[in-house]
Amino acid sequence: MNPLPLDLQLLNACASLLLLLSFSMLAQRRVVNLVNLLALQGALLCFATVLVALRTGQAHLYLSAALTLALKVIGLPLLLHRLIRRLGVYWDAEPVINPSGTMLIGLLIVVFSFGLAQPLAALASTATRSTLGIAIAVILLAFLAMITRRKAMSQVVAFLSMENGLFFGAMSATYGMPMVVELGVALDVLVAMLVLGVFFFQIREQFDSLDLHHLESLKEVE
């Protein structure tokens, strides 16, 4: 059996790193570190996109990579860092609920995602198909991270990580979405971040904190 070409090897390594990053985000306590991890994830995504672009020669993938670089590696992390400084939550840390349990669930999720991706990967014509399972796992792990987070900021970071997973999935399954869509999605993400920025200030103005337990008053049980 021939070893895989180098670019695919690299790609697979990227994918594995992404998964690892997801796990570390699940376990990370410091908000600042979370943002850094996110930036790293973005960088990996960007790198993977470039790899695929090189391999397939599709022009729009370069554009996509550029977008990712601009938005996810530089733009958003910068924005988040600024926010963290402005909001003064630089040293914020939060307890992670039962880390080992969360990890275990994360592991199960990975198994589940791989199982889910199995039939899909068999159908895909892309060289990157085997990474589809990792993409799904990244999405679901980000979901899990959102569930376990108590701070608004870290929840948002997890949310953005989910977007990363989505993009990675799109790339591995179909070499990315059509350009129109990708542009639209990128715009949406940008706007979402702006809205979030506004939000953070409003929330802090109201509650003096970004802790989500302030946001639990609208409910049905007394």
Partner: protein, 485 residues
């Protein structure tokens, strides 16, 4: 041309109002833009009546029987809500709840929101549909938090996160569809997300992929529809935002979301040739109806009450689409129309009622009939209409849905019967004391803008007794298009 006008007007409106939104006449400007949009929608409708389905702008936009009436409906409710919000927001401003900058934001976002919904409805591109849906969420998040109260911030945050996460799943689902389509339609990437093309080849799409895609799409757009248990953002967002926004959220956004679900369902069902999507939708529908009716029982806040009622009705619609077949689909489409009109009318009335009583708490709103007979009657008739009492149109659709269910899914009917009964008891038991009885509150000088309320109710009444033939024709065509097991 009409389409450009239709989509362009609100975008232009959003820009103009961003600049002049705090102007004294901004509300009138808002109405003007909405009216123009509505006029464009009417022109488009006329064109569709004359020439049949339209496919324009490199096939990126599609107007067929399924969305033409939704477009008109959206533009119409957009207009009436603008009419309603003019005095409503003025009073809010007088009460000091919103200042000039927020009014600017409000008006601008209102137009943007209309634009996103219209794009979502008219686009032929599933990716664009997703973008528009996400944009609709984003434009309304800031409207929900307009009052900047702790509760509204909480509602906005939940809305943002839950819908954001949900819609991310929808994106993944869309991607999966693209993935499946690419194999059939080629990697050109241009046509593989166009619904018309997909629909043409839906039989060849890979079932395994599409079933996965449907799960993600259903969970994703279903969150926006407010299907239980994904609905948790909905009551909060409805209750804490300004009432005109509650009206359009309930009346329009939910419709758009369910429209998206159904568009996807058509593809998936064509590929799967199994009842799985239908069963999922029926399951979601029933769970939503039952849970919503139970939640209705405990409500203390009037807007929350009707928000849960929206969940209930979305459940009914989803259930009906799940059953499929010409009658159930027809009924579901009719139900979308009448629910949107009725619910927005109710929110208009509720808005006035809450303003008059100075509270949203049901226990503190009493004797509306004494306070303002028109508001009282508007709320009473609207509630009766939404509860499915004839001769209002909601009854017509519920009639068809229930009778169909009795024949196709008899197991579900006891559940529906029970849930509808509980919902009736809950809503009516709370509305009646608000409308009837005595009150100590004094009459406020503001004359309510009730033209929209009664215009909506009149149309709903009409639809209960007479469905215009071309509307019926669209419903029928769309019902055929949607098909069923």
């Amino acid at each position: 041309m009409e389409l450009l006008l239709l989509l362009g007007t609100p975008v232009l409106g959003a820009l103009v109002l961003w600049a002049f939104g705090a102007h004294r006449r901004a509300a009138e400007l808002n109405v003007l833009f909405s009216a123009t949009t509505f006029a464009a929608a009417c022109a488009l409708t006329v064109q569709v009546i004359a020439r049949g389905p339209v496919l324009v702008l490199h096939e990126q936009f599609l107007i067929d029987a399924f969305n033409v009436f939704l477009v008109t409906l959206t533009a119409f409710v957009g207009l009436t809500t603008a009419l309603f919000s003019r005095p409503y927001m003025r009073i809010e401003a007088e009460h000091g709840r919103v200042g000039a900058p927020r009014l600017r934001l409000y008006h601008s976002m209102y137009q943007l929101f209309t634009a996103t919904m219209l794009v979502a409805l008219t686009t032929n591109n599933l990716g664009l549909l997703w973008v528009a849906m996400e944009a609709a969420t984003l434009s309304t998040v800031l409207l929900v938090t307009l009052y900047r109260t702790p509760a509204s911030l909480e509602a906005g945050w939940k809305y943002f996160i839950l819908c954001g996460v949900g819609i991310a799943q929808a994106l993944f689902g869309t991607m999966l569809i693209y993935f499946a389509a690419e194999r059939v339609l080629g990697a050109a990437g241009v046509t593989a997300l166009l619904w018309t093309h997909l629909n043409a080849v839906k039989g060849q799409l890979e079932p395994a992929v599409l079933s996965l895609a449907f799960v993600f799409l259903l969970v994703g757009y279903g969150t926006k529809v407010g299907l239980a248990p994904l609905h948790n953002w909905l009551p909060d967002a409805h209750a804490e935002g300004p009432t005109p926004i509650s009206a359009v959220l309930s009346g329009l956004l939910l419709n758009v979301a369910i429209y998206a679900v159904v568009r996807c369902k058509i593809l998936v069902e064509g590929s799967l040739r199994s009842a799985l999507p239908s069963q999922m939708m029926m399951g979601f529908g029933l769970v939503s109806v039952v849970l919503a009716s139970l939640f209705l029982w405990r409500q203390r806040d009037i807007k929350r009450l009707f928000a849960y009622s929206s969940i209930e009705h979305m459940g009914i619609i989803t259930f009906a689409f799940g059953m499929g077949g010409p009658v159930a689909n027809f009924a579901a489409l009719l139900h979308m129309t009448v629910h949107s009109l009725t619910k927005s009318a109710i929110f208009f009335a509720v808005g006035h009622a809450a303003q008059k009583a100075g509270t949203q708490l049901i226990d503190n709103i009493r004797g509306l009939l004494t306070l303002s007979p028109t508001v009282g009657w508007g709320l009473m008739l609207g509630s009766l209409a939404i509860l499915g009492l004839p001769p209002f149109g909601v009854f017509a659709s519920e009639f068809l849905i229930l009778t169909t269910a009795m024949k196709q899914q008899p197991w579900a009917t006891p559940v529906l019967l029970l849930a509808l009964a509980i919902a009736f008891a809950a809503i009516f038991g709370k509305v009646q004391p608000m409308v009837f009885g005595d009150t100590e509150a004094r009459r406020l000088p503001h004359p309510p803008a009730l033209l929209p309320v009664f215009a909506h109710l009149a149309i709903v009444l009409l639809l209960g007794l007479y469905v215009p033939p071309y509307l019926a024709g669209w419903y029928r065509d769309a019902a055929r298009l949607i098909g069923g097991p």
